[in-house]
Amino acid sequence: MKKFPAILMGASVFAIATFALAQDSFPPLATLAPPPIPDDNLMSPEKVALGEKLFWDGRLSGNGSMPCSACHLPDLGWGTGGPISFGYPGTKHWRNSQTILNSAYYNKLFWEGSATSLESQAKAAAGGAVAGNGDGSMMEMRLRFVPEYVSDFEEVFGTSWPHLANAWDAIAAYQRTIVTDAAQVPFDRHLAGDITAMSDAAQRGMDLFTGSAGCISCHNGALVSDQRFYNIGVAAAAEFEEDPLYQVTLRWELYQKGVPEDVYRSGDDDLGLYHVTKRPGDKSKFRTPSLRELRWTEPYMHNGAFATLQDVVAFYNAGGGEGQTAGLQPLNLSDDEQADLVVFLEALSMDEPFLADPPELPETATWSEFSK
């Protein structure tokens, strides 16, 4: 008990320090510019249209029925709507399916940041044994037996046969069109000068966000993410204690990503960034997610631990979770302040969800329909 005041005082000092830093040096919240387009994968309407078809096409999976859209459903915020994503048949996944919305802006993809482009992310997800489980050469041959794709790929990429690497290019181009429309976002309208765009509660929440709550120290810039990695102490998914198939996937991920044997033997949770770097200090770190479109993309965190934004705010208000190394401190926000913060977070989303209907998929043909 003696130590308690000292800790509190320390916490206050830290919070103030963070606040001061936030005011000075974090990129301000802003409206998103159009997403960056890589020089080696320029956009065209034809490429985007091809990517749209491929995004929905089960040919880009092992069993013919696990397209990108199987775990990134527009009606469910371009995720699955559940805490942990669907797994490939016979498996269970281990992380929350992230929304596709605004994925165009990230410089690293996946919760552990293991892919450095949308193009490589699409390939990795379609090939992962607990995700799409597609064999590259088989997926490519499936595409080559579709005359419409043969002509699409020839038109877009100039190849006589579809090449799988170009399929990922097309999907990435399509994803670069699945982005927030600022005109439909209260916060962006507010920034543009519409003084009626955000409620008083949202404006109070924004002040907390950028001020004493310190959210902006990680959730900053137009994307509302610093794209860095932190361990904020989100508890391990209960599924790892309750279901053998989650345990299989947890061990498989440790094993196939090549962690040292002692880490594999004792592994009891998703180790996040550590899977990529193998640096002990990176255990349980995950990439700061964008806070745009949260209204449509629940649940939250890498394992979907929180069903509502109220839960998320309460988690931070309590100073994060056990074992966190992100320097979080209790925020001591009142109930009203927490509610204001939630209203502001909601104001970062479009008024209506970004939806899309599945395209019509082309037919497979026999080789007799190919020209030699």
């Binding site: 092992g62 069993n63 013919g64 029925s65 490939y88 048949p89 016979g90 498996t91 044994a129 607990v130 489980n133 064999d135 050469s137 088989m138 490519e140 041959m141 499936r142 080559r144 037996f145 046969w161 391990a236 790892f240 204690e241 309750e242 279901d243 053998p244 198939l245 345990q247 299989v248 996937t249 947890l250 061990r251 498989w252 440790l254 094993y255 196939q256 594999y264 033997r265 004792s266 592994g267 009891d268 497979t364 043909a365 026999t366 080789w367 007799s368 190919f370 030699k372």
Partner: protein
């Protein structure tokens, strides 16, 4: 002391010479005599018991929908009874699934002779991990098996170790050694029981070794020269896609075929329109259309026949050889002679397998963090 060393040396020399003679005999197909079945190989029972479970366990496939037994069932002569097999997921395969009788005594595995017959572990690995068959990530299979307490015990008994890729393949390979022709009349005949064959079958045997010239390739203890030949067997119409009603299925077989060619580095693979057989191994034009000579033991249980499953009965097979083609001279056999030949072929067939699918143990929860 000196004397015993000399003795050892001379013994070694004799053994070495014998091995050379055997090797020479094997390389000359026409020199092989018909012979009784190869003797059983030594079995590590704990591994074979484990391998049997794994053989039937669909958790050994990527989507847990297929086991080895899906295409190699004891109920259909360790094949699947289909002309052309199914494949992984929604795909279809381009060849017939061969029966597994005496599989441990083969010279090659796979119809195209792609794999060495002395290496059972490798053919098992290939079937489990190949994307058109079971499409398994062996690391995931390992973790699935570790989730089953009974398998942990069986691996401990078999290997004094936990589940691991090479051990899975080795155990299934050990089980494959137990799949043998049992009580075939012709085997008994070769071992001295002359009453084992009917008069018709004995006449068929004479034709087999005589004017029908079957034993030019189907010779030795395996009734196979262990070699590769192009005999002009046609591809199955279901692969070629000639029937518009079956075009979608044909396309799914053609996808797996051309994908397989691509993965084998086959020249001009997008434009190949037939099963080129051993060509995918050698890339030499003279090997186009060559397939391994199948063993004829248990041929009565393994219909349909040929790499393409194109013949549904032994009578059709015999008719094919009688008709001849641009690679084989026609045979002049009377109806009675044809029937005798079929009677002999049927005498190569033993008992139906008694192996049945075992009860498979379930996944169980483990203590998290004690991996």
């Amino acid at each position: 002391m000196t004397g015993s060393i000399r003795l050892l040396r001379s013994t070694a020399l004799v053994v070495g010479m014998s091995a050379m003679v055997v090797a020479f005999a094997v390389s000359r197909a026409d020199a092989q005599e018909l012979a009784p079945l190869p003797e059983p190989q030594e079995i590590n029972q704990a591994r074979a018991d484990l391998g049997k479970m794994l053989f039937f366990d669909p958790r050994m496939s990527g989507n847990t929908a297929l086991s080895c037994a899906s295409c190699h069932s004891p109920e259909t002569g360790w094949g699947d009874g289909k002309a052309l097999s199914d494949a992984y997921g929604d795909l279809l395969y381009f060849r017939n699934a061969p029966g597994l009788f005496n599989v441990a005594s083969r010279n090659f595995f796979m119809w195209d002779g792609r794999l060495d017959g002395s290496d059972l572990g490798t053919v098992v690995r290939d079937m489990l991990t190949e994307s058109h068959t079971m499409h398994m990530d062996s690391r995931l299979a390992q973790e699935r098996l570790k989730q089953v307490p009974e398998y942990m015990e069986m691996f401990e008994a078999a290997y004094s170790a936990e589940p691991y890729g090479g051990r899975m393949y080795g155990a299934i390979g050990e089980f494959l050694k137990t799949i043998r022709t049992e009580n075939a009349p012709f085997d008994a005949y070769l071992r001295g029981d002359e009453s084992a064959l009917s008069d018709s079958a004995v006449r068929g045997l004479a034709l087999f070794e005589g004017k029908a010239e079957c034993s030019a390739c189907h010779s030795g203890a395996m009734l196979s020269d262990g070699n590769l030949h192009a005999t002009g067997v046609p591809d199955h119409p279901d692969l070629l896609g000639l029937d518009p009603e079956k075009a979608a299925d044909a396309a799914n077989r053609q996808i797996t075929l051309l994908r397989f060619y691509a993965s084998m580095g086959t020249p001009n693979y997008m434009n190949l329109r037939q099963d080129v057989g051993n060509y995918i191994v050698t890339k030499d034009d003279i090997d186009v259309g060559k397939f391994t000579t199948p063993s004829l033991w248990d041929v009565g249980q393994t219909a349909p026949y040929m790499h393409s499953g194109v013949f549904v009965s032994l009578a059709e097979v015999v008719a094919f050889y009688i008709a001849g083609n641009d690679r084989m001279v026609p045979l002049d056999l009377s109806k009675t002679e044809q029937a005798d030949l079929v009677a002999f072929l049927e005498s190569l067939t033993g008992d139906e397998p008694t192996v049945t699918e075992p009860d498979l143990p379930d996944y169980a929860l483990r203590d998290v963090g004690k991996n």
